[in-house]
């Protein structure tokens, strides 16, 4: 009884197969693909002749849910799109609606949004760092990264109520105010994090085996980046100085002094260093935001109970840990949006891998995949 049927994609992929190669599935269930990404690769010995990503294993048709549910009802979905940096997606959706309807956000709420989103960015980078070194074969750094990340998640959990898929923002502010214990814990965390970053650099960045595994591996030229529309640390690793917080400032980001780390060696080490420097920048943003925290209420009292924006469209983009997150909403005056489009950064970042991975070794492919910092629910939408 032939229960196993050759599936559509591997049949089409196998048509152009050379005879001295084998086709393997870096399948939906594989330690190096964080989540359910499947890559069909044609291997000649250790080298990849060509590869193709097969997506859709985690597809939930988020955009149709956006059209069925009302404006507030679709909001929890944004926390489930990129669970690494959920608050960025929350901010994108809430910012889009505020811009569409024209809701004013009080001063203190903007500061709280900056603090919690930057803390969430640090947690996302820590998750990426631990798991990236795990891909390269070392089992201990992920535990050190999670040790710090757990402290951070406890701080955020007290205020936002959840640890990974947040639903903390509201139209016109935030769900709950932050108290003195939150501020004190964050200060303690930031001070401790500076010394922990030195430990990370000492332990991994200077390690010769790590360096050899990562230096000039997976070169993305500037032209590939613009052709595929990759943004975020992947683009900044190839010498492109583009960060939505500085390019199209939103919220109160223009009040803080922070640099955009850019490396121009275009390889995995450059993307690694960009993210490590971004950790320090986020820490300094959080410290500046905590000092300048103004008084005021955490939510705009006059937000309309019923969100029924007039006919029109809005496109609002935010800088998440993985790149430029954009939400495009067309409203036709009704209760539900007419069309919701979610622009996810790793979707474009991953699309350039098919072209770049020709002639790569399998171990380099795994290293490059890790350096892209993929989150599959954001790609499959």
């Amino acid at each position: 009884m032939e229960f196993w049927k050759e599936d559509f994609y591997s049949l089409k992929f196998a048509e152009k197969k050379r005879d001295d190669t084998i086709i393997i599935n870096i399948g939906p269930q594989h330690p190096a693909t964080h989540g359910v990404l499947r890559v069909l690769a044609e291997l000649y010995g250790e080298y990849i002749v060509r590869s193709e990503c097969v997506l859709g294993y985690l597809h939930r048709m988020q955009e149709k849910m956006g059209e069925i549910k009302t404006y507030p009802q679709f909001y929890p979905n944004t926390g489930r799109l990129d669970y690494g940096h959920a608050l960025a997606w929350n901010w994108a959706y809430v910012g889009a609606i505020e811009k569409l309807v024209g809701i004013e956000v009080p001063e203190k709420a903007e500061y709280i949004r900056v603090i919690t989103t930057e803390l969430n960015r640090i947690a996302s980078h820590l998750l990426w760092w631990g798991v990236y070194i795990l891909d390269l074969g070392a089992f201990t750094p992920v535990m050190y990264a999670f040790e710090d990340r757990e402290i951070l998640l406890d701080i955020l959990q007290r205020i936002t109520g959840s640890r990974l898929t947040y639903a903390y923002f509201r139209f016109g502010g935030v769900f709950q105010d932050i108290d003195s214990k939150f501020i004190e814990d964050t200060k303690k965390f930031c001070k401790r994090m500076h010394s922990r970053l030195n430990l990370y650099h000492e332990f991994v960045t200077e390690n010769i085996i790590f360096k050899k595994r990562v230096e000039d591996v997976g070169i993305f030229t500037k032209d590939t980046i613009t052709k595929y529309g990759a943004t975020g640390p992947v683009a900044r690793g190839s010498g492109i100085k583009y960060d939505v917080r500085k390019a199209e400032p939103y919220g109160v980001y223009d009040r803080f002094k922070f640099k955009i780390p850019v490396e121009d060696k275009c390889d995995c080490l450059a993307r690694y260093m960009v993210r490590m420097k971004e950790l320090e920048q986020s820490l300094s943003i959080v410290e500046q935001a905590i000092e300048g925290l103004p008084e005021g209420d955490f939510k705009n009292k006059k937000t309309p109970k019923m969100i029924k924006p007039p006919a029109g469209e809005v496109y609002f983009s935010v800088e998440s840990a993985r790149g430029k997150v954009g939400i495009y909403i067309v409203s036709d005056g009704g209760m539900n949006p007419y069309r919701v489009k979610l622009r996810s950064p790793t979707y474009s970042n991953l699309s350039l891998l098919d072209e770049v991975s020709k002639g790569m070794m399998l171990a380099d492919y795994v290293a490059t995949l890790g350096s892209l910092d993929l989150v599959i629910p954001e790609i499959d939408k």
């Binding site: 330690p31 250790e46 089992f139 201990t140 050899k212 399998l362």
Partner: protein, 323 residues
């Protein structure tokens, strides 16, 4: 009873003792590996079974034994099931030759090193057969990597062993130990530091231990050659790997650290102490380094270890000639 029966009985008793020693060591190292990895990563390691998790390995052994025996579809049944047996079969022979202490050596043969080098090659044959036989592309890649890695790292070990025998003039292990003195500065490690480093790195690679564990690199080949094995097949592979750690560290202690000779009253406890320190270091290394890429691994051997081995050999030959 003439000499022949006596040596035959001695060998049988020795074999039983060695099997007991291997089983004890496998459990000790398995438990040690989890505890060390736990302590290094800021957690406790096994805690539930027995006081502080000490009986965890017993439970694991029972679990592995009771697992269903599955042969993958279209896999070559004979090859698939001889691989674990073969990989575990070569190990007890190695222990027969190692001089734990004057009274505890099973066979005091004049060609100790040659036997060790010969039988340690069997393990790779087992990996290769296992990888090929399990009809899985991943294990095929793992098998190919295992074979080329072993060939690359067999040559440095030969060079090191050659320089040691050149220096001490004998091939039997017990004489090598007798030539070394009790105090640390009389051991071979002082006379041949480069050889010790080459031997340590090369035997790390031969045991497929991190940073050279490419044949079963989890994050690339999803457990390499042992992907299709479950239950006792996998259990035998793990057992063989742990026993190889013990064999390699005991070989290094005999060649470099003066075997059972110790500063005060030398005996088997010195041998065990040095060996377990070496095992501890090998286990410790596993949790500190990422994995090397495959071509860097081969470059390391062909470009660095072998030239260093040859240089070391020439240097010892010169020194032996002078003194």
């Amino acid at each position: 009873m003439s000499g022949v029966e006596w040596t035959f009985i001695k060998i049988v008793i020795g074999m039983l003792l060695i099997l007991g020693f291997i089983a004890f060591n496998a459990i000790l190292l398995g438990y040690g590996e989890r505890k060390i990895s736990g302590f290094i990563q800021g957690r406790l390691g096994p805690y539930a079974v027995g006081p502080h998790g000490s009986l965890q390995m017993m439970v694991d052994m029972v679990k592995l034994m009771t697992k269903q025996i599955i042969t993958p579809k279209k896999a070559d049944g004979f090859l698939f099931w001889t691989a674990p047996i073969l990989s575990f079969m070569s190990v007890p022979v190695l222990f027969m030759v190692i001089p734990f202490s004057p009274s505890f050596t099973v066979i005091n043969s004049g060609l100790g090193i040659v036997i060790i080098l010969a039988f340690s090659g069997l393990n790779v044959l087992a990996l290769c057969i296992g990888g090929l036989g399990s009809n899985n592309k991943w294990s095929l890649l793992g098998a190919a990597r295992a074979v080329s890695q072993f060939i690359a790292f067999e040559v440095p070990i030969l060079l090191v062993v050659l320089s040691i025998t050149l220096m001490t003039g004998t091939l039997s292990l017990s004489e090598i130990i007798s030539k070394q003195g009790g105090f640390p500065w009389q051991w071979n490690i002082v006379l041949q530091p480069i050889a010790f480093v080459i031997m340590f790195v090369a035997s790390l690679a031969e045991m497929n231990r991190v940073p050279f564990d490419l044949p079963e690199g989890e994050s690339e080949l999803t457990a390499g050659y042992s992907t299709e094995y479950g239950g006792m097949g996998f259990g035998l592979f793990v057992l063989a790997e742990y026993t190889h750690i013990v064999v390699a560290s005991s070989v290094i202690t005999t060649l470099f650290l003066g075997g059972w000779k110790g500063p005060v009253f030398s005996g088997i406890w010195w041998f065990l102490l040095k060996m377990y320190i070496l095992c501890f270091i090998i286990l410790w290394i596993r949790w500190a380094f990422p994995r090397v890429r495959f071509d860097q691994l081969l470059n390391l051997s062909w470009k660095y270890l072998i030239p260093a081995g040859i240089f070391n050999l020439l240097a010892t030959a010169l020194l032996v000639k002078l003194f």
